[in-house]
Amino acid sequence: MEKLKKYLKNEFKKKGFDYLILLTGGIFFLVAINYFKGERFLEFIIILAFSCFYIFWGFYHHAINDSIYIKNVVEYILIAFIVLFLIKLILIP
């Protein structure tokens, strides 16, 4: 557990700004979802926007840390698209 704490502390300390952007984006996303609650199409658009934001965030994060590889970018795209597909299934049949 100590190592986990150290890892998280290190991660947030070194890349604090990147995570701050991600968390801010996430909070805006939740506020928007809550605001447009019940509007299925808008909810889907907001999730689509957040998924795109996440892919760009991954791109930016790895670019800034000199660790950008196709494999990494594909991973972000896959995660975002899995989420998008599953949510679409619920929101827009």
């Binding site: 996440y54 494999k71 049949p93």
Partner: protein, 288 residues
């Protein structure tokens, strides 16, 4: 047992043999998830199984039961289920779909009370609560109870009857499930009239107590309810599975101090967590 342990190790725990990343989070597995998600969306589209629009898990029985439960909490008498109010609620929902609006008053000025009178219910007091795009009955009542005006309606001492309609249709181009709750207290003249048909009313009441559901809709909703639950729960379980896989990965990266060329597991974790929270918000629809 040993094999199972090995399987889980391979699936979740990063080590030398799986290139320091659990199989569950590797690109080939993520691609498989995506293909799986794509195919189930095709399957459900092909069989026209709609998740929210036509198959929410909202039932009249549950709404009626929960409404009375809320009243009992405040020591108020239970409401009786009234077929005429249910008919009025159904007419109101149909009117919203036909004229494409989401409000208590129609754009042409039609009031909720007109539907009540049209259904043959002469009221002394009447009220209406609306909700749309909720997934579960409990959430509808909980949302109404959180809103002072809706709560006031549910707990109004004067009301004696209630009727519900849960109707599916297209509103603003979207498949929507509307929930209409109509309250009422019959005017004294209609009470006199009603006493003449007391026997018939008692019989109706008995039938309604056994099966309190709207005149239309029930068939569609009943047919698709199971599918909707399966899809919703499958998605939820999948996201939780992904979250657990990511948590285990983060733990072992920290523990074994692994440095690897890969996407940030911590970022994926945060992203999925936001999505799960949004999932919970989405299931809660809107009320007016």
């Amino acid at each position: 047992m040993e094999k199972l342990k090995k399987f889980f190790q391979e699936l979740f725990i990063p080590h030398e043999k799986n290139n320091y990343k659990g199989k569950a989070l590797q690109l080939d597995f993520l691609t498989l998830y995506l293909i799986f998600a794509f195919f189930i969306s095709i399957f459900f589209k092909k069989y026209n199984i709609n998740i929210l629009g036509f198959a929410t898990d909202i039932t009249i029985n549950k709404l009626f039961e929960l409404t009375n439960k809320e009243r009992q909490k405040y020591h108020l008498p239970s409401l009786n289920y009234n077929e005429k109010l249910a008919q009025a609620a159904y007419l109101k929902a149909q009117d919203m779909f036909n004229k494409n609006y989401w409000a208590h008053f129609a754009p042409d000025g039609t009031t909720p009370w007109e539907f009540i009178l049209k259904s043959g219910y002469n009221y002394e007091y009447a009220g209406e609560n609306l909700a749309k795009n909720f997934l579960f009955s409990d959430d509808v009542i909980a949302a109404w109870m959180r809103s002072p005006t809706h709560k006031k309606n549910i707990l109004k001492e004067e009301y004696t009857d209630v009727g519900f309609a849960v109707v599916n249709g297209i509103l603003n181009g979207e498949e929507t499930t509307l929930v209409v709750q109509m309250f009422g207290k019959p005017s004294s003249s209609s009470i006199v009239a009603n006493t003449n048909n007391n026997q018939e009313n008692l019989l109706n009441q008995k039938i309604l107590n056994e099966e309190k559901r709207p005149i239309v809709l029930a068939e569609t909703a009943k047919k698709n309810n199971n599918y909707s639950n399966i899809i919703f729960n499958t998605n939820f379980v999948f996201f939780v599975f992904l979250l657990i896989a990511l948590m285990i990965d983060i733990y072992f990266i920290a523990k074994l101090e692994i440095v690897r060329i890969s996407g940030k597991t911590l970022a994926h974790f945060i992203f999925i967590l936001f999505i799960i929270i949004s999932f919970i918000i989405i299931s809660k629809g809107s009320i007016i």
